[in-house]
């Protein structure tokens, strides 16, 4: 039955001839496992396309919803965490696989005439893959995305002559925002996939036109049929890589930082690991030398790759023998350079916010927003004028949230009746800031820690007093020292002495005496908490 149907289909379409054309290829004898790298790249590109298609169904490319839509995918959508995990880790796998493929082609001298154009299309594909990574990085609209993209655009801006125009086009407007997100999304899901598809078709067609280069020294004997003798090797490699990808995606959740906050100038951005070497390079070329790091050195590396088949025109393909020895050394130097810079970059990574370390401000906010006597639940309840906190989105900016908490009704027009007088502010700005910090942590998917009464008191005291000057776990002022690890510097008695009477300890200092402003319980709670921070 099925055979008949397929025979009919073949008679009308001739598809079997096409399949035969695709599979019937004689490979040089001795073609082995090293020639499976291209198949792995193809598999990973396919994976990214399919998982990206699923993600695009839920993702919203607008600053007010982008983050929440990713959060929705991660938390509410069935298998959504795995879908995004595959796409997120697949990007890293793809970059590695593409570079492995490039190395294989380089080491076996496969780029040599007549395969120069095949090589060039491959270099183009690598650049397209990196562009995919760069544009995809912005889409979740979390802190990391926002600030890393700010750096990327500033780098483009530093390029000579065209920098200002280039960065404006990348931003799509005067500031990084909705216009930027729209064009990066469009590039990521329309332009780049189309470009990559066209390049893959061209790359494979060129590969078939010239045949594969084969091993350095062809083994004696007749060639071997591509299908199934080589396809089985391709398949085994693909299965192994796919199994590793699934394992990583299952074991390590794709990260999602707190929602992008353009007002938070203290965030230290870091790019994804495959751009870390470029980022690190910037540190060694400050000021007017910056174009060296952003343009010249990357330009030289890409130029080296582009010109390779035109420079290397001899017959020898062996990577360690003349005439290719020097080129291999050059590529090794590039590789070592990238590896060392990446290593230095990793060593330089800022501690950042530990999502499980809530510090004190969010704990205070949690207490204010959900503790006894809180006023949020008056409206944020099922059937109330506002959605329950569990399903509200964090779509408004920080200014809005702070104003809303000070006077919840005034900026929700239509809710207050004419006879209802304007209420006194519900919350001080300090408290509101604490609640905003709590909402940001909570919306980043981190459950609130269980804290005792003493830590709650410490949190509330910190949120009304110390937060103005002191930072803990990424939140708070920067006038005074960061207290994230103060317990490692001072013992309980030392901390207590500073809180009670800093002028006595330090002489002239901006920190006033708190011995008579705070209650002994408050000081005890603060000391107990701070001493535990090591």
């Amino acid at each position: 039955m099925v055979d008949h149907l397929l025979a009919w289909l073949d008679s009308r379409t001739g598809y079997r001839a096409l399949v035969r054309l695709a599979l019937d290829e004689e490979l040089p004898s001795g073609t082995g496992w090293t020639f499976t790298t291209g198949s792995v790249v193809t598999l990973l590109v396919g994976c990214q396309f399919v998982t990206g298609l699923g993600l695009a169904m839920y993702y919203v490319p607008a600053p007010s919803l982008a983050y929440d839509s990713v959060r929705f995918i991660m938390q509410d959508l069935t298998l959504g965490w795995l879908l995004r995990g595959l796409h997120y880790w697949g990007a890293s796998f793809l970059v590695v696989a593409a570079v492995m493929h490039l190395l294989r082609v380089f080491l076996l001298g496969s780029y040599k005439a007549p395969r120069e154009v095949t090589w060039l299309s491959g270099i183009l594909m690598l650049l397209v893959i990196l562009a995919f990574a760069l544009t995809g990085y912005l889409l979740p609209w979390d802190q990391k995305a926002y600030w890393a993209t700010t750096v990327t655009i500033n780098i483009a801006r530093s390029s000579p002559l065209v920098g200002e125009y280039l960065s404006s086009v990348m931003r799509g407007g005067p500031d990084l925002g909705a216009l930027t997100l729209g064009r990066w999304f469009s590039a990521h899901v329309f332009l780049l996939p189309a470009a990559l598809t066209a390049l893959i078709v061209a790359h494979v067609a060129l590969m078939r036109k010239h045949g594969i280069s084969g091993p350095l020294k062809p083994a004696p004997g007749a060639g071997v049929a591509f299908f199934p003798w080589h396809v089985v090797k391709d398949t085994v490699m693909m299965a192994a890589v796919f199994a590793s990808l699934i394992t990583v995606a299952v074991l390590v959740a794709a990260p999602l930082d707190e929602i992008a906050n353009p007002a938070d100038a203290n965030y230290i951005p870091r790019p994804e690991w495959y751009f870390l070497s470029l980022f690190q390079l910037l540190k060694y070329f400050p000021g007017p030398l910056e174009p060296m790091a952003t343009m010249v050195i990357p330009g030289v590396v890409v130029g080296f790759l582009v010109l390779l088949p035109f420079v290397d025109r001899g017959d020898g393909r062996h990577p360690f023998q003349s005439p290719r020895r020097m080129l291999t050394a050059a590529l090794a130097a590039i590789g070592i350079g990238v590896a060392v810079l990446t290593g230095l970059g990793v060593a330089d990574l800022p501690a950042g916010k530990d999502p499980n370390d809530w510090g004190l401000l969010p704990i205070a906010g949690h207490e204010i927003a959900t503790g006894a006597g809180n006023s949020c639940a008056r409206c944020h309840e099922p059937g109330g004028p506002a959605a329950p906190l569990a399903i509200t989105r964090l779509a408004k900016d920080e200014e809005w949230l702070l104003s809303h908490m000070a006077d919840p009704v005034a900026i929700a027009p239509g809710v207050r009746s004419d006879t209802d007088p304007a209420p006194a502010p519900v919350m001080s700005r300090f408290k509101a800031q604490a609640v905003v910090a709590y909402l940001r942590r909570e919306h980043a998917g981190n459950p609130a820690p269980d804290v005792d009464a003493s830590e709650r008191l410490a949190a509330l005291t910190y949120a009304e007093t110390c937060v103005v000057c002191h930072r803990i776990s990424g939140e708070g002022g920067t006038l005074g020292p960061d207290l994230t690890r103060v317990g490692a510097r001072r013992n309980a008695a030392g901390i207590k002495a500073v809180i009670e009477d800093a002028p006595e300890m330090y002489g002239e200092t901006a920190m006033p005496r708190f011995g008579d402003r705070l209650t002994p319980e408050q000081i005890r709670a603060l000391v107990k908490y701070l001493e535990s921070r090591r």
Partner: protein, 160 residues
């Protein structure tokens, strides 16, 4: 995938490899299809969560006179959130209360209670219901949709 003609002597080995290749590709494809397909299809079968909302108090209701009440229903909508408004009639008879959705079952217009005729009337095509929601005239094919209610300490709760 079709198998090209084979001229190789080790025919069995070739057939075995072909099967391995096909099975592995099918397994990779099936895994991806399961994950992506699952994420694509799952929300289609999601049910809206039912809520019990406070719609009014027993003391505010007169016997057998429908009271229209607007319920605000905040619910998640994918990555977004929306607030629906639904007007329901609360009708008291003795100590029990029934609730009807005010939407006409004909073409979905909002009905109104007419206190003079003691009837619920639809302004669009002349549908008429009695205070128990039953059709007594016009085109509506079914009575007004009734909703579950319960009373907690004189507070009328309606399930939406």
């Amino acid at each position: 995938m079709s198998q090209p003609e084979s001229s190789v002597s080790s025919h069995d080995r070739r057939g075995f490899l072909v099967r391995i290749v096909q099975a592995t590709h099918a397994a990779i494809g099936a895994t991806l299809a399961f994950i992506v397909g699952g994420a694509v299809v799952a929300p289609s079968f999601g049910r809206r969560e039912t809520l019990w909302l406070h719609a009014g108090d027993l003391t505010h209701l007169a016997e057998d006179i429908p009271l229209p009440v607007t319920l605000r229903i905040a619910r998640p909508d994918g990555a977004s959130e929306v607030v629906d408004r639904r007007v329901v009639y609360l009708v008291r008879s003795g100590d029990s209360v029934r609730a009807f959705d005010s939407t006409c079952t004909h073409l979905g217009c909002r009905t109104k209670f007419n206190a003079e005729t003691m009837q619920i009337e639809c302004p669009c095509h002349g549908g008429v219901y009695d205070v128990a929601g039953r059709v007594i005239g016009g085109p509506p094919p079914a009575p007004l949709v009734s909703m579950s209610t319960r009373i907690e300490n004189g507070r009328i709760m309606v399930q939406v």
